[in-house]
Amino acid sequence: MAWNLDADRPIYLQLMEKIRTDIISGVYQPGDKVPTVRELAAEASVNPNTMQKALTELERIGLLYSQRTSGRFVTEDEEMMKDTRESIAMEQIQSFLKGMKQLGFEKEEILDMIRDMKED
């Protein structure tokens, strides 16, 4: 099944986000070898060069590292994982807040609503 990609943003960014989420949610465990560029490109139905770019970027920010002959692996740096998880959380909160502000809610009201919300 091809990955779901938005039409209006660069593809490599969306591939990065998807793989990053897969790492944080444990689809790929720390130290796991990630599939090859070609395999991932086929899975996502995207151009291999674009997938290559996404993986290179993930390497550059430290979530993946490559070993010259044996492939690419998920980082085992726990600090790095924690930071990434927090930065994804911040992105989610910011986009949520933006949506709520458009509806005309202030921060205090939003916090009250969250507190009052029943857990399901």
Partner: protein, 232 residues
């Protein structure tokens, strides 16, 4: 730097009609490139010139530094819009035929893909559905170790599931030394696999840009951009 495909001031006239006008192309290796444009924009004419089926009226086009001819046909794998294969042939006869014709044909690769799709090599082309015929042709074309693959409307006549398979076949079979040039109207189906797009209009290049650059600069997909550029 030597380009895989290059053209300089390429023109093609049919009587008073300018089918191609001052086409200057530079295409490198390792790319998947969409050749896009409405009907009559010159896509097929350009593809025919690349494959030596037509000659330019003026200007030049070279593949790996050579004018299209016997030598370039060895390194260009071409999927025409219409079939040229004999309807009475069985799949294994087509494999023999390709093996005879092209040194770079990898029979095992073709057989593997055929078996993945459960197409028997004893089947006759004549008895196949339109979609299956298109798959067989694409498999033959993608089973060559070519430098340039030129695919004219490779996904036109097949259902969405087969389309996915065909795209995966294209992604899986080309290598970083090869380039795939494909023409299509079905942009939204293929735009995620493209590195670059060439928009043709009235026989001229409207632009030739990278897909990620278009998305980040224009904030829109190739499909959306196409609809704007060619609005009727």
């Amino acid at each position: 730097m030597e380009y895989l495909l290059e053209s300089n001031h390429l023109c093609k006239k049919f009587g008073s009609l300018m089918a191609l006008q001052d086409i200057n192309l530079r295409i490198t290796r390792g790319k998947i490139i969409g050749l896009l444009g409405p009907n009559g924009s010159g896509k097929s004419t350009l593809i025919k010139i690349i494959n030596g089926l037509m000659t330019p009226s003026s200007g030049e086009l070279t593949v790996n530094g050579r004018t299209p001819g016997v030598e370039t046909k060895k390194i260009v794998s071409y999927l025409p819009e219409r079939t040229y294969l004999n309807e009475w042939m069985k799949v294994y006869e087509l494999l023999d035929y390709f093996e005879d014709f092209y040194e770079d044909f990898r029979r095992e690769r073709a057989e593997q893909m055929l078996s993945n799709l459960r197409i028997s090599i004893d089947d006759k082309l004549k008895n196949m559905s339109k979609g299956t015929k298109e798959k067989v042709q694409l498999i033959l074309v993608m089973s060559r170790d070519a430098d340039l693959y030129v695919l004219d409307e490779p996904i036109g006549g097949v259902d969405p599931a087969a389309r996915d398979y065909i795209l995966k076949t294209i992604i899986g079979n080309y290598n970083e030394n090869a380039t795939v040039l494909l023409s299509t109207h079905l942009i939204s189906d293929i735009e995620n696999i493209l590195d670059e797009v060439i928009f043709l209009q009235y026989g001229q290049i409207r632009f030739h840009r990278s897909v990620d650059e278009i998305r980040s600069q224009e904030g829109k997909s190739i499909d959306q951009l196409f609809r704007e550029v060619y609005r009727c």
